[in-house]
Subunit: 239 residues, 2 copies
């Protein structure tokens, strides 16, 4: 991301998160920021827009741009925005071990197509992984990748980080991700794979991901033990 507005966004975000611009105070006015960053009105506004979209600020006409972000109470494991397991683990200060339970090539039949959003007949790589945190198996990921988009993928890579591989090695750009969060009863398989204690339900997050070519190349169902599941998001009206 080499855009100017994005650098400005990151700088402002850092200043908010580090407390330079505290909660419920105004950041400097557009005019001052334009001088500081030596850019135009429009470029700065784009940065502010992104900042707003992520729930950091609330611009108020005639007054200024108010900081509305505050350090959240940390729960055990927080997911947010577009983020892979490795990133989420690092941000939460946890080491995540991944074991690959299944890795195979399949052709989508009607049932799989219905479940994943792919077309019947698509060649897919089916990967099942178990995530271990705090000494327990807590997350069960069942993924399907479009085979043609992830050539070269191996079980070894899957055990590390698939997204790092796709973005780094294959140069793929992940852009949009449509999520659904629901709750489901644990299946016999869930009980076998995860350390469920006496929980009988799971938090299930389904993720359909598109790359920069607009290709839907991944559907992942993440099945979380409920006490470790926490999802954050920000909605902005009018956007």
């Amino acid at each position: 991301m080499k855009a100017i507005y994005y650098d400005i966004y990151k700088d402002l975000r850092e200043k908010i998160m580090s407390g330079v611009y505290p909660y419920q105070t105004y950041i400097p006015s557009e005019l001052k920021l334009i001088e500081e960053y030596e850019c135009t009105h429009n470029t700065l506004r784009k940065a502010l827009q992104v900042l707003q979209m992520h729930g950091f600020v609330q611009p108020i006409r005639g007054k200024g741009v108010l900081v509305i972000w505050q350090l959240g109470r940390r729960t055990r494991f927080v997911l947010g925005d577009i983020e892979n397991m490795r990133e989420a683990g690092e941000r939460n200060g946890l080491v995540i071990e991944t074991s690959v339970r299944r890795f195979e090539r399949i052709v989508a039949d009607e049932r799989v197509a219905q479940l994943t959003g792919f077309a019947a007949g698509d060649e897919l790589i089916r990967v099942e992984r178990v995530r271990r945190l705090d000494g327990a198996n807590l997350i069960f990921d069942k993924s399907c990748f479009l085979a043609s988009s992830v050539e070269g993928l191996t079980p070894e890579i899957a055990a590390d980080s698939i997204f790092t591989y796709l973005e780094g090695t294959l140069g793929m750009q992940i852009t949009t991700s449509n999520r659904t969060i629901t709750m489901e009863y644990a299946t016999a398989e869930d009980r076998e794979v995860l350390d469920l204690l006496d929980f009988d339900m799971l938090a299930v997050m389904e993720n359909r991901t598109f790359n920069s070519d607009g290709v839907h190349f991944e559907t992942t169902q993440s099945r979380h033990r409920p006490d470790y599941f926490s999802f954050l998001t920000t909605a902005v009206r009018g956007y």
Copy 2:
């Protein structure tokens, strides 16, 4: 919302949802749309940006703007973006009956402040409501409003739609909403209030809402029976 870009956004969204621009096809190019809507490059781009943010399209440099939205498999009750119960009910084709269980004025102590994100000493209106759908009590809403922001609020209004009242009568503009989704064990109170069948856990969505003045005026905890809970969201990389 009287902005031009917003009208264009709504028109394009409608065309995508009604199938005029189908899944995995390109919408007309910027140039053609500029002619159609008689606006400039920048204005149209803003509309496209909003469209992208909501997961409807994926612009691809050098190629076009691809539709990536498809009619979702409908679950029993879907929540999305900024939307109140009335809107969600209508969109899901359900009639929601609301009963007010509690309505009182309180002063936030340390514990309440910690839980809700308000400051200790703030005067709050505490409202508890039960939502009835499909002949069962399915959602238990525990809300706290900043008293000074919701003057004139009555139990009768709370039974109807608080947000309609705030936006319509008080002219308040709701803007940002920070959400957390977790799972919790049902309490004795939950069991008393809701028709939980044999479920022992709930999907809990906490919502902290800011108005256009940047005032955090509401924190609501919505406790959903798990089989009726479904939450949708879209994340876009780089924004």
